[in-house]
Amino acid sequence: MMKPIAISDSANFYVSAERIFDPSLKGVPVIVLSNNDGCAVARSDEAKALGIKMGEPLHLIRDKIAAHGVRVFSSNYTLYGDISRRVVAVYEDYTPNVEIYSIDECFLDFSGLRDRVGHARTMRRDVLLRTGVPVRVGIAPSKTLAKCANDIAKKNPIFKGVLDMMDPKLADWLLPLVPVGDIWGIGRKTKAKLDGIGITTAADLRDMPLRQARAMGTVVLERVVLELQGEPCIAFDDIAPQRKGMAVTRSAGIPMQGFDTLFQAITAHTTRAAEKLRQHGLVAGTMTVFFHTNRHRPDRPQYAGSRTTRLIPMSNDTLQLVAAAKRCALAAWPKVGAERYAFAKAGVMLDDLLPVEDRPKTLFDAPPRDPALMIALDAVNRRFGKKTMILGSEGVSQSWQMRVEHRSPRYTTRLSDLPVVRG
C-alpha cells in the first residue's frame, strides 16, 4: 500500500522571509549570514548567479558585495521562526498530519486525496498569499523520493512548483537526471565511494543490489536504496519523537578571555537550556560543557576544554544546572597559561532527558527544591520579556554576545520593530 508523502519547502527561506517586509529586496542579490556574521547561509537566486557559494565566508566576498550591491543580513531567527510557524499553520489546513523537519521543511501526509497535484497547487498558492513565502512540493511514496521530487520541482520551473512522483514511470524518467550526491542522506564520502564504482545518478543507486549497498556502506545506504525504490523505511512520525538531548551553543561576538567572561556565556546558555527543559516538562540526567578557541586561527594558541557530569538528582532547575555547569567549566579550565587563550565558542549540552514525572527517585533523594521559584522566574521573563531576570553570573555587559551587525528588525514579534507603511 503506497502512502503518498509530500515535502514542502521554500528555496532560500531566510531570504524569502526578509523580502516579505522589504519589497526593495525583490529582484536584487540578497544573502543572509550565519550566526556571528561569519558566512553566507542563504542566498537569493541573484546572489547564486553572482557565484556566491553556500558557506562562503563574508570576508572573502566583500569585493563582490560592493561591486554588485549585494544586500547583506545577519540571521534574524526571531523573524524566521515566526514566519515558519505561520507557514506550518497554513499546511495544517491542508493535511491533518504535519511533521516539521526543519525551519523551512515539513513532511505532509497526503494520503486519501483524489487530486494530489491540484491539492498541492492550491496549498502552494495559499502559503504564498497568506505568508508571502514561495514553497515547492514534492510527492512520492517515500521520504527520500519526496525530497528528490521536491528538489527537481525547485530546479525545473516546468513543474510549476509541484512534482508528484507517485507514478513509477515518472521516477524512471527523472531519476537518471539526478546526481547521486544530491540525494538526501548521501554525504560527500559516500558519493566518492559510489562514483568509484560507476554509480553516479539516483537511478543507478536505486538499481544497486541491496547486498552490495550494505557491504559498501551501512544500513543507512541500504535504506536509501529501498527508499528510492519507493519502499518507505523512514517512518512518517505521527507523534513527534521524544527529545533525547538538547544543546545551546553560540559563537562569541568578541573572543572570550578569562574565566568570568566565559562563565557569563555558559551561564546564559545553561539558563536558556533549563528554560527549554521546563517548557517541554523534562529533566536532564547528564550535562556537558565545552568551549574552544578559534580553530581557523592556527597561529594563535589553541585550547579545547570539555567536561561531562551526571546530574543527581535529574533536574531542570536553573540554579542547580548553573552550579553543575560551573563545576564542569572549572574542571575543564586550562591549568596553566589560561590568560593566553581567547575562546571563540562555548556551549552546553543536556542528555538523558526524561519527562519530569518519570524522574527516577534516588536512594538519598533530597526533597526537590520547591518549583515555585522557577515557575516565578519563567513567569516574570514571559511577562516582562526575555532576560528581565537573570542570574548575576550571566553578567551585564555581555561582550560575548553574537555579532548581528546587519540584522533586520523583528518585524512580527516586537512592537518597537513593526514595519512602517507611509500613508
Binding site: 519589497p23 505561520r86 499553520a89 497568506r130 513593526l418 514595519p419 512602517v420 507603511v421 507611509r422 500613508g423
Partner: protein, 144 residues
C-alpha cells in the same frame, strides 16, 4: 470620536483570570456567578486569520477619512479579499503604501482618503502588487 474603555485583564500569580462582569456582593451570592465568560479580547476580533495577519505602523495621514492616523498600528491580512473601496497595503516601486483600492474608466487606482487633499493618487500598474487588506486599527491615548 467615541472612546471605548477596555478593562485590562486581571493578573494573579501569572494567570489571567476572567473579567468579572458583575460586582461581588458581600452578603447574598450573586445569581450571575455561574454565567462567567472569558475576558474580552478585541484583538482576536480584529485578527480573523492569525497566520496571515501582520501588524504595521502607519506614518502619515492619507487614510484620515477612514479613521487611520499617523502613528496608528494596523492589522493587515494578506488573505483579505481585494475589493474596491477597501483600504489596502500596496507595493509600488519597491516601497509599501497604504491606500484605498479604486477603479475608474476600467483602470485600478490607489487613492488617498483625506478630504484636505495633498495626497497623490497612484495608478496600479503591472509592477505593483497588493500586499494585504487592512483588517483593523489599534490606537492608544496618553494617560499621564
Amino acid at each position: 470620536m467615541p472612546v471605548h474603555l477596555v478593562e485590562a485583564p486581571i493578573i494573579s500569580q501569572g494567570q489571567t483570570v476572567p473579567l468579572l462582569l458583575t460586582r461581588a456582593s458581600a452578603g447574598f451570592p450573586s445569581p450571575a456567578g455561574d454565567d462567567l465568560e472569558g475576558e474580552i479580547d478585541p484583538i482576536s476580533w480584529v485578527v480573523r486569520h492569525p497566520a496571515s495577519t501582520f501588524w504595521w505602523r502607519v506614518e502619515g495621514d492619507c487614510l484620515w477619512d477612514v479613521g487611520i492616523r499617523d502613528g496608528d498600528i494596523i492589522a493587515v491580512d494578506r488573505a483579505g479579499k481585494r475589493r474596491l473601496g477597501r483600504a489596502v497595503l500596496a507595493v509600488v516601486e519597491g516601497s509599501v503604501t497604504a491606500k484605498i483600492l479604486c477603479k475608474r474608466d476600467g483602470k485600478y487606482f490607489l487613492a488617498p482618503a483625506n478630504s484636505s487633499g495633498g495626497f497623490p493618487e497612484i495608478e496600479l500598474t503591472e509592477d505593483s502588487e497588493i500586499w494585504g487588506v487592512i483588517a483593523g486599527v489599534v490606537r492608544r491615548y496618553d494617560l499621564e
